[in-house]
Symmetry: C3
Subunit: 343 residues, 3 copies
């Protein structure tokens, strides 16, 4: 993944990385430079990657990375060109090394680099309200409006013909043309990702961003978190109602319609032409297909194939749901069955 | 419906309306003036109305409108005084013509007409915080408080003895005496109403307003959308907890109590003396009677009669719900039934 | 409960209290002073307490209070040192008297005492954004950050190394070291507590506060209400995701993890090491034990013992839940049972 926003503080010497992970490995030339940390597929020579599950062993065999953070039991899955760095907790170590390369991606303190918009180059280009703030590395297209008290923090690109409401906060986001983000939203903050620890949880970096494609609308009071290792994406012409929560790494397709107070947990993928009723919840790491309808208030805890209507908790086919909820239908079915069994 | 806030840009010549809808109708005198667009019941001579469903054919026969947007199959339901304008998609055409009359009611960009309150006539009348903004066509009664960073956008009337919190945004609303709207609320924005379209959804105008009657309280982080063709109403002395979402056209009666994170979808009607538990959801176009209790977390997908307690998803009578959720009770009932059948 | 924030306006003469409650009791020396109102356990000589349920009669027998608001049927449960004040509605009367002692604890109008931070002693101590406001009786530790437009209203103590986001409002709260409160939160407002009344509901005072212990994180758009007679507490190193609502008097233990859009109703207690999935709801006055896992979307309506995994609505043991939701398993079990019964 190319990263438009988070500055890579590398390269680092491999000896510093080894030190940081508390690994003693004398066979490694300690003055080798490591340029970046990426996943198995994207990483290249002079970069470091990681392997934490057997699931990825085929990818591991083809990685071009020079180093790989992994475990004792997985270290033999790597090609000879890739030197294993054996640790006890792969993800924790990855988090530490990612933090070395991208220290800005861990904490989300308020952006102290902002200036009032009338002190910036956007003064004559944008129609803006009172008390609007603009951070570093921001671009805004033509014919845009930004409401009162809104804060466009660092690392934001806004296309043409966009309307951003009042009291809204955006950072680390690519927003395409003709997008509306209404009032009181927070877009691009880190997700709810950390390693639990009894004394003090350890946050891992979120180096992903939020991408909102053209013609989208985001309702009042919604929160859209940026991705951790991938991006959070809202596809073209998708509309979100008020008070919706989209967690990190979620990807939503085009032309989807999501009603109020829906929550989509981390790393789930929603197809195109999907309709989700109010207050429905989608668990993490779920895949919802195209042309799916999810009834209001449903709880989706497993994948939903294309062209399906589901409802309930756990969400199931809508006909099945309605049937299961009619006690007398159950009785009827049972009686028929028992009759059939000649009981 | 008389419209206190949205300025009617009419009259328009019928020939311009016909052109806009791409209708060729030579029998119509093209220099006739059309003054407004209203529903079948409210419309008068020289106004245009619409008929899109057989359900309304009785109303249609009595309409006083001079013109009616309708379909080929419904056009004969109109009185001879009303000239049918036949289109393929009635609601879409209504949306277009409403947009001609009320262009301000489509988009909800931030209100650029606001001024700091200390530059307005409210300077010495209201107790206000820092950075308070007031839009055009705003009235505020005696003994009111408005918190920091709050934006009273255009078209708002606030009664006496009201307390508006901080970071709150209000537009297109009539607020009666002794109402409290707490922090971080958004009141009076357009609802989630639009015609889905593969390339770019088409928003229809929301010419309704929000009416909050006396003695109400609206909790922190709540959103109340204004109506599309009718109003959104919160009845006297009704209390809403935090993070509640009230969609467009919803009407809530008096003395009702609605707990945190409840969502009420578009055009539903809630009676008086209703209690709704936290996180419950009410589907759109539902009628909930008076003196109803809805358990927390319930999903209401059908009408609820007066004086009922419901719970569950879909919400049903509370005794029925508890019984259905006890497996052993089911077994017991079954066994009794089987015994009774002498099996 | 010692009260760090709400100023006790007492003492009051008992004759004034009797007058206010419309009680005629000539046996009481009318020039006696009453210093405070507390619960049965905490109250002392020269203080007033209350007894409204038989549940508390053992506590009542040991109270050191000089006066007790109670009912005709409970008045004999008190020791001779405690003079009963008999009323019809105990809680309503308690509310009235608490309001005498703590008039500031009833309404939560915006804090008009705030000043811009650069006009305060925190100017050189805190890293702050634009338009930050600080109320009276606020303390802030070293190395803290406060984002744009954030309002630290009166009665707030913030520890060291804290990061408060933008557009956030805090009052009546004790925040320990290394706490993060993200954007658009409201912390410390009164809860949803009042006596329903047909004309105009009567709010009772909330003299509790919010306590957030060290290393916690509170996600964007969350609301945490302060307690009414006790405090609302978030234990050490507990993390809350976005759009969470924590009602008054709720107590959450240490090291707990609560996902997005969860709601916890008033006076419930959550243990330590608890994990709650997204959109789950906990009813009021519930006790959830330690090491409990609650599935996303669950509705908890009864106590949950330690070391349990629950799911569903109403939430039950996870294995039971999954079984109940498989129709064919039910059939299988039934068939086996019927076979066993030789039917």
């Amino acid at each position: 993944m190319s990263n438009p926003f988070f500055k890579n503080q590398g390269p680092f010497l491999i000896k510093d990385i080894l030190n940081f992970l508390d690994i003693k490995k004398e066979s490694v030339k300690t003055n080798l430079e490591v340029k970046d940390i990426k996943d198995l597929y994207s990483s290249n020579n002079s970069e470091i990657t990681f392997l934490h599950s057997k699931k990825y062993k085929e990818l591991a065999q083809k990685t071009k990375a020079s180093f790989c953070i992994t475990t004792e039991s997985l270290k033999n899955e790597l090609p000879t060109s890739c030197i294993p760095l054996v640790v006890e907790n792969v993800l924790l170590s990855v988090s530490k090394i990612t933090s070395m390369f991208y220290p800005d991606a861990i904490t989300d303190d308020f952006d102290n680099s902002t200036a009032y918009i009338d002190e910036t180059i956007f003064k004559d280009k944008v129609i803006y309200g009172k008390n609007v703030l603009i951070g570093k590395n921001v671009s805004i297209g033509t014919n845009c409006k930004i409401g009162h008290n809104t804060i466009i923090e660092k690392n934001v690109s806004i296309g043409n013909d966009c309307s951003i409401g009042s009291n809204t906060i955006i950072r680390n986001s690519l927003i395409s043309n003709n997008v509306k983000v209404l009032d009181n939203c927070v877009v691009g903050k880190h997700g709810f990702g950390f390693f639990p620890n009894k004394i003090k949880n350890l946050r891992y970096p979120h180096i992903g961003i939020v991408i909102i494609e053209e013609n989208c609308e985001i309702g009042c009071g919604s929160t859209i978190d940026r991705g951790s290792m991938s991006n959070t994406v809202i596809g073209k012409n998708t509309y979100l109602d008020n008070q919706i929560h989209i967690a990190h790494n979620v990807k939503i397709g085009e032309n989807s319609i999501i009603a109020g107070q829906v929550g989509i947990a981390g790393s789930s993928t929603i197809g195109s032409n999907v309709r989700i009723g109010g207050q429905a919840g989608i668990s993490g790491h779920i895949k919802v297909g195209n042309n799916v309808e999810i009834g209001g208030g449903s709880g989706v805890i497993k994948d939903i194939p294309d062209n399906t209507k589901v409802m309930g908790y756990p969400a199931k086919n809508i006909r099945e749901f309605l049937r299961d909820n009619k006690w007398y239908t159950k009785l009827l079915l049972l009686t028929l069955m028992l009759k059939f069994l000649k009981m």
